[in-house]
């Protein structure tokens, strides 16, 4: 189930109700479970520290755990949904806002009537860009900034067959890395594991 904005994690969009009904996503359930487990682990680890060191993380962790458990329980109890997974329309987040404009550019909820195909495409694209970011990070760790940055731009725009843009951006970013960050700002950028 997805909430009114139809949001869900990658590959988890399965609208199980009519578009007009307020629904939630399995991705949201996964997040709820991860939160409970994560905060519980945090509290468990905190108990290993001296009393003064663990006191405040324990207080905050307990508050977070209680909220996360209520949230998880709320997923299964429709009467609690508005408290735990309630949708806040843009008109409420920003009084007087039109739904299409209030969410623009910010973290406000998206429009409620997106079709399943659109959300599925968005999820796929999100996975794609996260994979590109991970590739970029690996390139930096392995080859260092000076080679990793231009390589990423060559690969990213090359994959989109924009070779002019690929070569141009790679050169510009290499120059930025070398001349601004290394020479001008005197930051000793690391060379990478293979170099």
């Amino acid at each position: 189930m997805t909430e009114a904005d139809g949001t869900a994690g990658p590959g988890t969009e399965e609208p199980l109700a009519s578009p007009s009904a307020r629904v939630r996503s399995r991705g949201e359930l996964v997040v709820d479970i991860l939160l409970v487990l994560g905060i519980a682990w945090y509290l468990y680890v905190a108990q290993g520290y001296p009393p003064d060191g663990r006191q405040i993380p324990t207080v905050v962790g307990t508050v977070g755990l209680v909220a996360a458990v209520i949230q998880l329980v709320g997923w299964f109890i429709p009467r609690l949904w508005s408290f735990t997974h309630g949708n806040r329309p843009a008109s409420r987040a920003a009084p007087g806002a039109r739904p299409d404009t209030a969410s623009a550019g910010g973290h406000a909820p998206a429009a409620p009537d997106r079709d399943a195909g659109a959300t599925s495409r968005e999820s796929r694209d999100t996975v794609v860009i996260m994979a590109w970011a991970a590739f970029f990070l690996v390139a930096i760790l392995v080859l260092g900034y000076v080679y990793g940055v231009p390589l990423f731009f060559l690969a990213y725009f090359g994959a989109r067959r924009s070779w002019k843009l690929a070569i141009g951006s790679a050169v510009v970013m290499w120059a930025l890395t070398q001349f601004v960050f290394i020479d001008l700002l005197a930051i000793p950028l690391p060379g990478g594991a293979w170099l």
């Binding site: 001296p50 905050v60 949904w81 735990t84 806040r88 623009a104």
Partner: protein, 532 residues
């Protein structure tokens, strides 16, 4: 006071200060026109560059960039009906109809003038309030600082999250992340999993870049590209009488009381942590419509509909600055990132900042005043360029922001492990935004973690439960409790009203914060409709 005011002006008046103020405004103007790249993203990208800079020029760069986004964000709102920054959303209501009516230059003139005058009024109020705030902060004890920090996290969480529990969890997660690393009280390493690179905790830049910039890039990449907008030839310089920029400026002067009222409202809303942001502009628009003699004309392209939100946009930032510098509690997202800048520059926001670095506070007020004018002039001069920028596909921008983020986080921390952290926080920030959690609350929780921990320790050891007998502490605690439970009480009251015989009036079902979720004669029936 006069001495520190002049000192602040002198510190800003250096070549470096003026240059960085100009660069910041220019960057803000350029970035503000690109939908999706808001002020928080720009500020986080600039954070790594301020290391080793003198304090005032560094803050001039950040604050000018933050101020600069507002007018250019309104340019796209007026011309394309697409706000460059979320804060400009209310400007579309009357700005775009005015463009459709063939008066884009006049609408831009109104926006530029109202933004500038609003910024000046906000700064004037800020200057008047700083000495008062200086006195007020002497009344604050650890329990008040603790309550205020929690209040900021809770308010921002409740304003920006989709439900009460999500708001609480967002703030708690931010606090929990802040406890990673060296414990100042016992000296123990906490939650580091034995990683030496985490002994000092997560770098502020990594958290800010991840939660705001990277998360926003992930969202932006997946967003359907907007259609290229063509608005024909803009005749800003040689427009017909009645449609010129100067006619827009005259409109603002003709509605001077509305401008002043909206600016004051923006400043006041900005002072309350969490209430500013996007809401201030809508509240300002709403009050203008309410007290107008012709409210039915709002939304059809009338000057008042542009003046009200625009006058409050920068004045709200001036208001936001007050709790940030005086109490160490950021008023909004931009100020939360700016507070990261303070930390990088070795400054501790709070009462000591007003006493020890008041000149810096005055400098920041001057930066807002100068940048609000400069941004309007630059924005008007760059309108054709801004239109082209707004049409740049987001998928071309995304890799550049990622690259600057990875470069910046290493420049700031000198730790490769923080580049891994920035990506992890990017994924976390994306998931939070996607599932309705509050990213700003998490960021503010992270920033205020030390304030909460230190003051909670002091309250426990020095004040104990007696702290609740202090009026200010009790008041803030009551507001915290109310902001958490008021939505529930409101919902219960509405349900009770619905159950009363003869009260079958159509009513919108209240959500957790009293929001409506569509017409539903019976909220429970609406609940039953929600299927798994």
């Amino acid at each position: 006071m006069l001495h520190s005011l002049l000192d602040g002006l002198t510190s800003l008046g250096t070549l470096q200060g003026i240059l960085l103020l100009f660069v910041g405004t220019l960057l803000g103007t350029v970035v503000g026109a690109i939908p999706g790249l808001g002020g928080a993203v720009l500020l986080t990208l600039l954070l790594p560059f301020i290391y080793n800079m003198p304090v005032v020029p560094a803050l001039a760069l950040l604050l000018a960039a933050h101020t600069g986004i507002y007018f250019s964000g309104s340019v796209t709102a007026i011309l394309f009906n697409t706000p460059g920054a979320p804060e400009s959303a209310a400007t579309t209501f009357d700005g775009y109809p005015m463009t459709e009516a063939g008066r884009p230059a006049r609408a831009l003139g109104i926006s530029a003038t109202a933004t500038t005058i609003g910024g000046w009024i906000g700064v004037a109020l800020l200057m008047a309030l700083i000495p008062l705030m200086n006195q007020l902060t002497t009344l604050f004890h650890p329990s008040e600082f603790l309550a205020l920090a929690i209040l900021a996290i809770v308010l921002i969480g409740q304003m920006r999250a989709r439900s009460v529990t999500k708001g609480v969890i967002s703030g708690a997660v931010g606090l929990m992340i802040s406890f990673v690393g060296y414990d100042p009280i016992t000296g123990v390493q906490r939650f580091t999993a034995g990683q030496v690179s985490l002994y000092n905790g997560f770098d502020i830049t990594a958290v800010a870049l991840g939660l705001f910039a990277f998360a926003e890039m992930f969202r932006l990449y997946a967003t359907r590209p907007a259609a290229q907008v063509q608005i024909g030839r803009l005749r800003l310089a040689r427009a017909e009488p009645g449609t010129r920029i100067r006619d827009g400026a005259a409109d603002v002067l003709a509605h001077r009381w509305l401008t002043i009222r909206s600016s004051i409202l923006g400043t006041v809303l900005g002072i309350v942590p969490g209430v500013g942001g996007v809401a201030a502009n809508f509240v300002s628009y709403g009050q203008a419509a309410r007290i107008s003699k012709h409210p039915e004309k709002f939304g059809t392209g009338i000057p008042e509909g542009i003046i009200a939100p625009e006058a409050s946009s920068i004045s709200k930032e001036a208001g936001n600055l007050l709790p940030t510098v005086a109490l160490g509690v950021p008023g909004g997202v931009g100020m939360a990132v700016l507070m990261s800048g303070f930390t990088i520059l070795g400054m501790v926001p709070g009462p000591s900042m007003l006493q020890d670095h008041q000149n810096v506070v005055w400098s920041m007020a001057f930066v807002i005043a100068i940048a609000s004018l400069l941004a309007s002039l630059l924005g008007l001069a760059m309108v054709p360029g801004l239109i082209r920028l707004a049409n740049v596909p987001s998928r071309i921008l995304v890799p550049f922001v990622l690259a600057l983020g990875f470069l910046g986080v290493y420049a700031a921390s000198n730790e490769l492990s923080q580049t891994i952290a920035v990506l992890a926080f990017g994924v976390v920030g994306w998931a939070m935004a996607r599932y309705g959690y509050s990213v700003p609350a998490a960021m503010i929780g992270f920033l205020l973690g030390k304030v909460v921990e230190d003051n909670l320790y002091l309250v426990r050891n020095l004040q104990g439960w007696a702290s609740l007998e202090r009026p200010l502490t009790a008041l803030m605690t009551a507001i915290i409790v109310l902001s958490l439970f008021a939505p529930l009480l409101r919902r219960a009251r509405l349900l009770r009203l619905l159950r009363l015989p003869g009260s079958g009036r159509p009513l919108t079902a209240p959500g957790p914060s009293g929001e409506t979720s569509g017409t539903a004669p019976d909220p429970e029936a609406a609940d039953r409709k929600e299927t798994v």
